[in-house]
């Protein structure tokens, strides 16, 4: 069905179920219980899960398949956000035209950057994309202030035209983003026992778009086009001598991933209509690289897992402060408790980035295939007890030993 194999259908169904039932799954602990701090079923957090999931899925089409490591994808995300906010300012608060425009603009922008950057490969490519992204960031921050509103970031105001909508609501405030009238911020609360589940319209829009994005990436992975992209990563020389021009294939992959990034940026702005230059900074590009690698570059489900994992722990870690730590380690003798809290302290709260950096190094060093590979290793351990390991037939689930970047 849908032109995909049974096995892929299962993966797709898992993703669909996870995405649609997220308000339940991410809220396992009753409100008010001690464990409630580990809940993640809040609309804005869930929105971030799926939006970054989309970003990572797109990045994976470039990096996972072709091995071209771009350090500039945040630029497309930023461009998408700016376009969407402009659409809200000029046209109406409907998210559909905004999202479409953000994809188109990011796509055009990525054609331009991709065409130049892909003249080179390997680390030159990484540096070129990095330079482009940094350049876009500088431009957005200073020169293009009329378009980007510089440091402050682009926001909606009461004086915006909104030719197809209204500038000001009857109550005198800025109108909110909507999907043909359905307000993105509208949330239905469902209280069951001690639990409180929140169903947010914006989240569901993002989730459905992510499912579509995931399905598209699945089709690409299984298509002849995807095969060519993997061939680009494996051996460009052979590809050339097999009568195939790798350039348009890689450019197409670059543009597709740019459009995904633009889509993510557009959705971000649709959920919260503002856009700032910091979204384009190269640390933001680094984050999506990390998500993809942590989940498992070149695998279908990996980027989604990586994005969820990072955004979840970012949220949890940022909430932990010394009081929480003391609660946790209260069972220890006093002196030891203080020592442990002192050691853990730098890694939580505002220190989340430190944890992230260490995680990054550990994953690249010990688990280059990411969580997916880790899961497979564990699965293999269990399987080995039952039957001798059979070489898996699916190539994408293998860690690559050959260089990621064409040399």
């Amino acid at each position: 069905m849908l032109g995909i194999s049974k096995k892929d259908m299962t993966i797709l169904l898992v993703v669909i179920v996870l995405a649609l039932c997220a308000p339940f799954i991410l809220n396992p602990f009753p409100t008010g219980s001690a464990m409630a701090q580990f809940n993640a079923g809040y609309p804005d957090l869930m929105q971030r899960f799926v939006i970054f999931g989309i970003f990572a899925i797109g990045f994976n089409i470039l990096f996972g398949l072709t091995g071209y490591l771009s350090f500039g994808h945040a630029a497309f995300l930023g461009v998408g956000s700016y376009s969407a906010v402009w659409m809200f300012k000029l046209l109406s608060m409907n998210v559909v035209p905004a999202i479409l425009l953000s994809m188109i603009v990011a796509g055009l922008f990525s054609v331009l950057i991709g065409y130049v950057s892909l003249r080179r490969s390997g680390i030159y490519f990484s540096i070129l994309t990095l330079a482009f992204a940094q350049m876009s960031f500088n431009l957005a921050y200073s020169v293009l202030t009329p378009i980007t509103n510089g440091e402050t970031g682009l926001q909606l105001t009461l004086s915006d035209k909104r030719y197809l909508g209204q500038s000001v609501t009857e109550s005198g405030s800025i109108p909110v983003t909507n999907f043909f009238g359905l307000e993105m911020r509208s949330t239905y609360d469902l209280a069951v026992g001690g639990w409180n589940f929140q169903f947010n319209a914006g989240y569901y829009l993002c989730a459905i778009i992510m499912i579509v994005a995931f399905y598209v990436s699945m089709r690409i992975f299984r298509s002849p086009f995807g095969l060519m992209l993997r061939a680009v990563k494996s051996n460009q020389q052979r590809l050339n001598y097999t009568g195939i021009n790798p350039k348009p294939y890689t450019l197409a992959a670059f543009v597709i991933s740019g459009i995904y990034a633009g889509l993510a940026g557009g959705l971000m702005a649709s959920m919260d209509p503002l856009a700032g230059a910091e979204r384009m900074q190269w640390t933001a590009s680094g984050e999506v690289v990390l998500m993809t690698i942590l989940g498992g570059a070149g695998t279908l489900i990996g980027p989604v897992l990586g994005a969820g994992f990072i955004k979840y722990f970012e949220n949890i870690f940022s909430k932990i402060n010394d009081t929480v730590l003391h609660q946790w380690f209260a069972f220890m003798p006093d002196g030891l408790e203080d020592v442990v809290v002192f050691i853990v302290h730098p890694f939580v709260g505002k220190g989340w980035h430190l944890t992230l950096g260490i995680l990054f190094m550990l994953v690249v060093t010990f688990l280059p295939g990411g969580l997916v590979e880790g899961g497979q290793r564990i699965a293999k351990l269990f399987k080995r007890e039952k039957a001798p390991a059979v070489p898996p037939s699916d190539p994408e689930h293998h860690p690559k030993e050959t260089p990621h970047v064409a040399e």
Partner: protein, 251 residues
């Protein structure tokens, strides 16, 4: 008029004259061997034929069209396939996927944006690839990673990938270099079979005399970048000039 006509090709690297006035004509449906001592310019000549190098002067015509200034993939699309000295295959992909790619290249040309079809649904391509694997007796390895194949199998896979495109000219760059005797003999058998079952022209660069004399219809001896002599294997064997330049050194 041969299928491949090389006329007056010169190539210089700084002070080194790698190729000096090379003329070569490869007749259709023959096996033409190019031999010569190390540094004779064999590889340079080959690279000029496939678009990796551009000669300083001279012309290279394939089937009446010039190949000069064209990229390797364009030249491949004209009908020239190349087998490398060390097998160049897609190591990360399975054997089957390796076979599928050249079939797509043959059917769809150098670029086609077929992002929404599924590979497994392209039945004619899959059948073609499957058939080719059967031909080279590798169907049982179809799910293996190409990188994990033995060297001999990699060579066979590469050859099969080239042949699946039904090239008019197959270029072989020392296909038995570094191989054990048994593997070499297998390769010779494979090439003999290819020669007898297909309409194909083969140009082969080789160091191993055993291979050359078991396969070639014509032999060109290259020495110091210039063709010394071109003749049939029998005559080459007896040619004193060749003995001096090449066989003497080899013996």
């Amino acid at each position: 008029m041969g299928i491949l006509e090389v006329k007056g090709v010169n190539k210089r690297f700084g002070g080194l004259q790698a190729l000096g006035d090379v003329n070569l004509s490869v007749a259709e449906n023959t096996v033409h061997a190019i031999i010569g001592p190390n540094g004779a310019g064999k590889s340079t000549l080959l690279n000029c034929l496939v678009g990796k190098l551009i000669p300083d002067t001279g012309s290279v015509m394939f089937d009446g069209q010039s190949v000069l200034g064209r990229t390797p993939y364009e030249i491949n699309q004209m009908g020239i396939s190349r087998v490398f000295q060390t097998p160049e295959i897609f190591g990360d992909l399975t054997v089957f996927e390796n076979m599928v790619i050249p079939c797509f290249a043959k059917r769809d040309g150098s670029f086609r944006m077929h992002a929404f079809e599924s590979v497994v649904q392209e039945q004619d391509i899959c059948l073609q690839a499957e058939q080719m694997l059967v031909d080279v007796n590798m169907q049982d390895k179809r799910h293996m990673h190409a990188a994990s194949l033995s060297r001999g199998d990699k060579r066979r896979l590469e050859m099969a990938m080239c042949l699946s495109q039904k090239p008019r000219l197959l270029l072989l760059d020392e296909p038995t270099a570094g191989m054990a005797r048994a593997d070499t003999n297998n390769t010779i058998d494979l090439l003999k079979e290819i020669k007898s079952t297909r309409d194909i022209t083969i140009a082969i660069i080789e160091h191993d005399m055993h291979v050359v004399f078991s396969l070639a219809d014509r032999i060109t001896v290259l020495a110091q970048g210039t063709p010394l002599v071109e003749d049939s294997p029998e005559n080459i064997r007896g040619n004193p000039k060749v003995r001096e330049a090449y066989l003497g050194e080899a013996a």
